[in-house]
């Protein structure tokens, strides 16, 4: 069954790439692996009949945000994480904090597993209730975005403006105030 195979292939790719992202010492490799993970996720979105989200994922995430990250990694000449320093200074190396962290991690796993057993009763396939054409249509999505969610959309533009001004102010060099 090709559909199931595609799902497993891209899920595995997303999970493996994300695991490698947090396993790399060099941030450059992390950023490039994260792009692979986003590509796999966008394939999952296409399978979920969400072409707009899939394309936005590639353009905004892999295209814009990750390029921003790459710029910063190259600009700072990104120092690699030092394994010896990790062993010496990581807070989780402290026995009490480490124990507390392990407790929190176990709690998160239990919580996620509990939530998933709750939803696993919903064995109905995704899309069983969808009425086909209207879901996934970009036209319909634009209509809803500009009618029911107009305020949120406009608020987003203010947020982006604030973020832009904030980024410029924060990254400005001290002493160039004129």
């Amino acid at each position: 069954m090709p559909e199931t195979f595609i799902f497993y292939a891209f899920s595995a790719m997303a999970i493996i790439a994300s695991t490698l992202v947090i396993g790399q010492r060099n941030p450059m490799y992390s950023v490039l692996l994260l792009i692979a993970s986003f590509g796999a996720l966008s394939a999952l979105y296409i399978q979920l009949n969400a072409p707009f989200v899939a394309v936005a994922q590639i353009i905004i995430y892999a295209g814009a945000i990750m390029v921003l990250f790459l710029f910063v990694v190259m600009l700072l000449n990104a120092p690699r994480e030092d394994a010896a320093e990790w062993d010496r200074s990581h807070p989780l190396q402290h026995p009490n904090i480490g124990r507390f962290g392990a407790l929190l991690a176990a709690l998160l796993v239990v919580q996620l597993a509990w939530a998933l057993t709750k939803v696993s009763e919903l064995e109905t396939p995704v899309g069983a209730r969808a009425d086909g054409a209207s879901v996934g249509s970009v036209l319909e999505m634009g209509r809803i975005l500009f009618t029911r969610h107009t305020f949120a959309f406009e608020a987003t533009s203010v947020l982006i403006l604030v973020a832009m001004v904030g980024a410029v102010v924060l990254a400005r060099r001290e002493g160039s105030n004129q």
Partner: protein, 100 residues
């Protein structure tokens, strides 16, 4: 067809990976990347739930999450650049001046 719970399991695994990254890594850039992984995990479950419920609100909130992620990345990276200028380091332990 793939059951909803499969997508949610993938989403939960990705979220757990992102959380682990935030707690385990000692590099500000990798920590921000882990936050992006967590945001994407949540996006996946939004889209899956939207498809399951048969309406478009899941995809629309994903769109908003993406814009917020873009704003967060811009401000976060600006902060990283400013911090790196002060300390020549990306290790979060280097920025403890405000610690009591």
């Amino acid at each position: 067809m793939i059951p909803l719970s499969y997508y949610l399991i993938v989403s939960a695994v990705l979220f757990a990976i992102g959380t682990a990254g935030v707690f385990l890594r000692r590099n500000l850039i990798t920590i921000l990347l882990s936050i992006e992984i967590m945001l994407n995990a949540v996006n996946l479950s939004f889209v899956a739930f939207g498809r399951y419920a048969g309406d478009l609100d899941g995809q629309i909130i994903t769109f908003f999450v993406m814009t917020v992620a873009a704003a967060e990345a811009a401000v976060g990276l600006a902060l990283i650049i400013a911090l790196f200028r002060q300390r020549e380091s990306l290790n979060p332990d280097a920025f403890t001046s405000l610690k009591w």
